[in-house]
Every structure is written in C-alpha cells, then in structure tokens.
C-alpha cells in the first residue's frame, strides 16, 4: 500500500496566485521570435546548481536544465521530468519515481533512469542534497523508474526535489561521468533553451531548443508547459544598478533584473516599462551566532528580541514600505501551508526598551561587546544594523560594529568565534526543514532548545498536513521563546521589464520561457 506524500499540500491556504504580484502583462497573442536582453547583476559563478546555491545560477540555468518536480503558482509540487508525484511506501522510506518517456536532452540523448540516478547521486554528494539523502540508496528499477530508499523518513523529500535553490537538476549520466564533481560550465539539460555561448564575465547566450518536450499542463509558476517563444535570451552581466536601469530606459536592455527600490516610483510612472515585485523574496532577520559564548545566554538573546522595534528598522534599511511586509511567520504566506503568524507572535516586534532593559539586567550581562557584523556592499544590511545598534544600545547593550566588504563579511561569518549577530536577507523555503538558518550545519550553528529539537524531529518524520502544521506551530513557538533569531520582515525584489515584453506565467524566480516580445 502506498500513499501520496504531499496530498496535504492540496489543502494549501492559497487559492490565488500569490507568488505573483504586479501587473498581469500577458495581453494579446504571443509572438514567436526575437532576442530578450536581460541585464543581470553579474556573471554567474557556474551554470551548475549542484555546485552553487546562488540564486543567479539557478535563474540562468533553469532555462537549460530541469528537475524532477516543480512548484506551481499556488506553492504545490507538480511533476516536471517525473511522470507523476512519487509513490511512497507506508513506512516513508521508499520513494518510487516514474519518469516521463521520450524527453530529449540537448545532445539528442533521451532521458532515462540512469541519468536521474547519476544526477541525484552527484547532488547529494556535492550539493544541498546531502542534508536529505545522506545514506540513501538510489537505484534504477527499470529504464524509466528510479527508487530511492532512505535510512529514515524525510518528510520533505519530494518538496526538496522540486525546489529551486541548489536544485537537484538532472544531467545526462555521460556528462556527469565526464565532469565529475567539478562545476559544469556547459550543461546538457532537457530545458526549453540550450546554451549557445558563455562569454565569461560578459554574457550567457541561450537559444531555443526546438526539440523540447515539456509537460502537458497549463503553465503555472515553475511548473507546467514552458513555451519558448523567444529565439534567444541574452543574460548580460551589468553589475552597476544605475547602468542596468539606464540601459532599460534607453532600450539597450529589455529587463532590469534586480532594479533598485528607489527606482520603483519612476518605473511605475513610465509607459515604457513596468515593475514586477518578486515575492516572497527573502527573510530579513538578525541571525544570531549560537556558537558565540555571549549569545549562548538566552537572557541576552531575549533582551535583544525585546529591544528591536521592527518597522522603523526595516523602513530605515529599505527606504520604501512597498518592498517589504512585516510578518511573525518564518515561512511566508505565499508558500502556503506552513505559514503561521500566531505561534510566538507575542515575542515578535516587541520594541519595548523597558522590558528589554529588565530582561538584560536579569540575564547577568556583563557589558561584553556584542559584535554586529555588517557590510556596506549591501546598504540594507548596513543601515538596518546601525538602527538595531541604536535600539539595543538604548537598553544597555555594549555594541561594536564590524564593517567589512562582502567577501570579508562572509569569511568572518564562517568563523564561529568572530561575530555575534548579523542582519541580512536570507533565502526562505516552503518547508521549515529546508530553511538553512534553522539547521545546525549552517553558519549560525543553531541547535535550539529541547522543545525546538523535539518538535523538529517530529516534523521531519511526518507528511500529514494537519500534524505538520501543529508540529511546526510548536517549533515556531519554541524558536521565538528561545530567541533563535530575530525575525523581522519578508523583503521583495524588483525586476523591471520594457513594456513590449509580455510574460504569461510568473514564478518568484526570473524566467524567460512563456515570455514574448512584441
């Protein structure tokens, strides 16, 4: 007997396309042809999502490579290279995945189970898959069936296999044999576009793959049909935000990927371009380094939590309240079922200096400086940190700001002894188990309280929706009570399009399929 692991997702709270906001721009009849010039923030480090979790890697590579499952606009997992959602054994240990037949790769090879076995094995060996599939056995039952046998249940496995960041993309077994664990710069995938040329440091040029065989379902989010209307997509590396915007205004580019929030008004006032807000974008939080002896004092963490007045801090950091939403929920509303803005909410956005001072006094805090790590390379980090330092100094904290360039900041963050707290945008996921800063292997070394660990252990083993929601509510409550991190807001990212570019279906990541130009 088998059961559907993600059936609960159909009870998703979402009834509308919440991942999408802004103007619906797909009017008229799609036109085939043309080249889309997308000004991106920099040259991607690789086109291989197995080896990098950088969002830009996936946003370029997802046109070329695909994964077994994908999320639709309602946050539900749908088949992509798989023929259906997996069959899962009663004990939750065996996943049987049937693949679609007749799906060609860009080199003419047709997808089979060996390709999937080789790809998943590589993904769990060198990529984010290790956290979910360590010790798992991945085998080909026949040409088009893959069986994954886990040592212990992983409630979110299907979700992870359809997740975008650090994605479990499928390459040919031959390419993996050839490249091994090195980053793949010329991926051979099954996507609607194939790599034409990568002029490193300048641009990535993709061309339509005419033999693409997609899913026979309406386009929705990351899932469904992918119509390759455009002949060519050029991802041009333009690191300077003002230059990207000027290039969009002058007609040099068709898309300004990551427009500045300060340009939002200008874009909305223009007839020649329009804005699309990517939501949910990131979680803006103060991540606490739990390896630091000072921050292991729960009273100190609770005092910080009570001191932070969220709205002025986030407004000061981002400058425009159209680009963020305050929420106590760690999983954003747009991702569906695990959204919860009540558990622990009494400890969110407290902003009470007297209470914070009292908690701090009780904690035995001896005036040791709290090291706030930040970088001016990202203004929102720096400005938010300045305000947080101001708010916490007012209640009696002794703060020290460490300001470095971004590469140095990252290096310091990786040293558990060198910092105490860091404010920034962190990627979020639909399932709590997939959120990096909630895991102990991430840079903040968060182990959590006994209540937290117990709830997360139970969560990892269950796929029942009601049970998952209840368990996550307990975990989120424990997270707040433990002051695991200081939750602040969801922040959105902005892409700006020339008005002659039409997009039929949108996801929270940039996609240029189902996109056409007049």
């Amino acid at each position: 007997m088998s059961r559907h692991p993600l059936r609960w997702l159909v009870f998703s709270l979402l009834t509308t396309v919440l991942m999408v906001s802004g103007v619906a721009a797909a009017q008229g009849t799609p036109v085939r042809g043309g080249s889309l010039r997308v000004a991106i923030t920099g040259d991607p480090p690789t086109l291989d999502p197995h080896t990098s979790t950088a969002v830009i890697v996936l946003e370029v590579a997802s046109h070329v490579v695909e994964y077994l499952y994908a999320r639709d606009a309602n946050g539900l997992v749908q088949p992509m290279l798989a023929a259906a959602l997996p069959e899962v054994s009663e004990d939750g240990l065996t996943y049987t995945i049937r693949l679609r037949e007749g799906v060609p790769f860009h080199d003419g090879h047709v997808l089979n189970a060996e390709d999937v076995v080789a790809s998943l094995d590589r993904w769990r060996r060198i990529g984010t898959g290790k956290a979910y599939m360590a010790g798992a056995e991945i085998t080909a039952a026949d040409d088009h069936t893959v069986v994954i046998t886990l040592p212990a249940p992983v409630g979110v496995l299907t979700s992870v296999l359809g997740w975008a960041e650090g994605a479990a993309v499928i390459y040919t077994a031959a390419q993996i044999a050839e490249v091994g664990d090195s980053p793949i710069d010329a991926p051979i995938g099954t996507g609607p576009y194939r790599l034409k040329e990568w002029r490193k440091g300048q641009e990535v040029i993709l061309e339509r793959f005419d033999s693409y065989v997609g899913v026979d379902a309406p386009a929705s989010g990351d899932a469904g049909a992918k119509h390759a209307y455009l002949d060519e997509i050029r991802f041009i590396s333009v690191p300077d935000a003002a230059t990207r915007q000027a290039g969009l205004e002058s007609g040099e580019y068709d898309v300004n990927y990551r427009a500045s929030a300060s340009d939002l008004e200008l874009i909305e006032a223009s007839d020649e371009m329009y804005a699309w807000m990517m939501r949910p974008g990131y979680n803006y939080i103060a991540v606490i380094n739990h390896a630091s002896p000072l921050m292991q004092n729960q009273g100190v963490r609770r005092a910080l939590q009570a001191a932070i007045d969220v709205y002025p801090l986030v407004l000061g950091a981002f400058g425009d309240d159209d680009v963020f939403a305050l929420t106590a929920s760690i999983v954003p509303r747009e991702y569906g079922a695990m959204f919860n803005d009540t558990a622990g909410a009494e400890l969110y956005d407290v902003g009470d200096p007297d209470l914070a001072a009292a908690i701090l006094k009780e904690s035995g805090y001896d005036g040791t400086p709290i090291r706030w790590l930040t970088s001016r390379d990202y203004d929102y980090q720096y400005r938010g940190t300045l305000i947080a330092v101001d708010q916490t100094t007012a209640v009696g904290f002794n703060s020290e700001i460490i300001v470095r360039d971004w590469a140095t900041t990252v290096s310091i963050r990786n040293d558990p002894t060198a910092w105490d707290i860091f404010i920034g945008n962190f990627t979020i996921a639909p399932e709590p188990e997939m959120i990096q800063y909630l895991t102990s292997t991430y840079l903040n070394s968060y182990e959590g309280s006994a209540e937290w660990r117990d709830a997360m252990d139970r969560l990892a083993r269950t796929t029942d929706l009601a049970e998952r929601q209840q368990t996550w509510a307990e975990a989120q409550q424990a997270f707040y009570e433990d002051a695991g991190a200081i939750q602040m807001a969801n922040t959105f990212l902005l892409n700006a399009y020339a008005s002659d570019v039409h997009v039929e279906a949108r996801y929270f990541l940039f996609q240029a399929w189902n996109t056409w130009k007049e």
Partner: protein, 314 residues
Amino acid sequence: MFAYVARRLGSMVATMLVVGVVVFFVIHAVPGDVTSALLGQDASREQIEALRARLNLDQPLHVQFVSWFGGVVRGDLGSSTYMRVPVIDAIGQRLEPTGMLALLATLVAVTLGVTLGVIAAVRHNTWIDYAVMFVAMLGLSLPGFWLGLLMILTFAVKLRWLPAAGYVPLAESPIDTLRYLVMPAVSLGFSQAAVIARMTRASMLDALREDFVRTARSKGLPEGRVVVRHALRNALIPVLTVIGLSIATVAGGVVVTETVFNIPGAGRLVIESVQRRDYPVLQGAVIAVAFVYALVNLLVDLSYLGLDPRVRYS
C-alpha cells in the same frame, strides 16, 4: 641606446617579479576567499571546507605561494578560480575594450588639452584664457563617474543618440565600437585634458618668452608657425611627461568608467576579482598593469630623444 633599452627591459622583468611577490602576500592578507562567491549564501560549512580543499586554499600560504610563483617564472599565471579559464586568457579577452577605451580617452585628453592650452597661452590674460582655464578647473573638479552618468542620462536616456552601456568588438563593427566608446572616452579623458591644458599653457607661456621665439618673429615668420614649430615643440617635453602620467591615470580610471558604462574590460575584471577574491586573476592583472606602467614610462623616456636633440641615453 640599444644597451639602454635592453637594460631597462631587464629591470622591467625584475620589477614584475617583485610586484608579483608583493601583490601575492598583500592580497592573501585580506580575509575572505572565492568560496562564498562560488557556493552562494546557503552553502553549509562542510561544503565550504570541501571546496577550499579542492582549490588548495586550505594549504599553508607559503605552499600556495611556491606553487603560484613557480608558474609565474615559467610564464604561467595560473587559472581563474571563479571563471575556470587561464588567467592569461581572462586578461587577454579584456584587453581590447580597455585598450580602445584608454586610447580614445588619451586621444580626447591630448587633443583637447594641448589645443586648449596653446590657445590659452597665445591669448594670455584675455577672456579666452579665463574661459579655457575655467573649463580646465571644471574638468579637474568633476568626478569622471558623475560626468559619465550625466552623459548617459542626456545622450542615451533622453536623446537616445548613443547606447547607454556595453561594448562591440572592433572585428564586429568598428563604427559601433566608436559609438559605444564616445561617452566613456570623453568622461574619462576630460579630467586629463584639464591637466594637460594647464601644463601646456604654463609651458607655452615660458616658451613664448624665450629669445628664439622673439628671433623667429623678428625674421617675419607667420605667427602660427612661430607658435607651433618653435614654441610648442620646445614646450612639449614637460607636457609629454604629463601625458605619460595621464596615460597611467587613464589606465587606473578605466576601472570606474568600465563599471559605469558596463564595458567588459580589464578594469572591471580587476574590481570583480577583488570582490570575488579570485586571487590568480587579481595577481595576474596587477602584474599586467605594472607592465603597462613600466612600458609607458620607457616609451616616454625614449620619445624625449625625438623632441630634444640634447637628450642622450648611453
């Protein structure tokens, strides 16, 4: 003279090696490495450590240095850890845009600077002199990137006469190459034109007071010929030194200009390599820039020979 040139070239090689050693240790003294740029924000500590080991970044510094420097003395600058291409190719691919930009910017600077300087000197203490010196002061005061943004706003966004950003290689379309480089070259060359104009004016004023100029005039030579053939030629030696320094400044200025105008040149490569901690590219690029500086200095010294017969190198 050939012995002199050979000696200078020999000392250039030694300079490059010293620069290489210094840059290696300075760069490695800065915290951070390429793993954050490669792996992205969500990588676990284990993934970071595995990548550091694969790239040999976990080796002691002296081991990394011996490995890199051993390559350098054999003419191998190594491979980019971010782009995974040989450093020599990474820099080589960026030389054309940077070279063209530097050339055009220098052309703008020299043409504008010398012409305005001569006019100001000849029309000394008139409104023309004051106007030229005002423009020169403006050129010195305006930051190049600001001028660049202003030009983009005016000529690309509002008037749409010129492309806002990017570069087209010469081999594809020389006319487009020029169209893409007009604004960057002017924004980069303008401040140097101001420096050259001021130096030319001062040097010309001195020359115009010399006896040989008075003699030329008393011989009845036309004023244009007096100014160009007699005064300017003699005034050019200090100007040439400034032009040499300007070329070096322009070579440094391309970093900002290439970023503002999104020109995929060597300057932007340097900036990006600093941000990514792509050590091999950064080390190779610094050596390449030092080489250009040394070469320009040598060429300027040699050009004195053509201008002043009294100069001898032995």
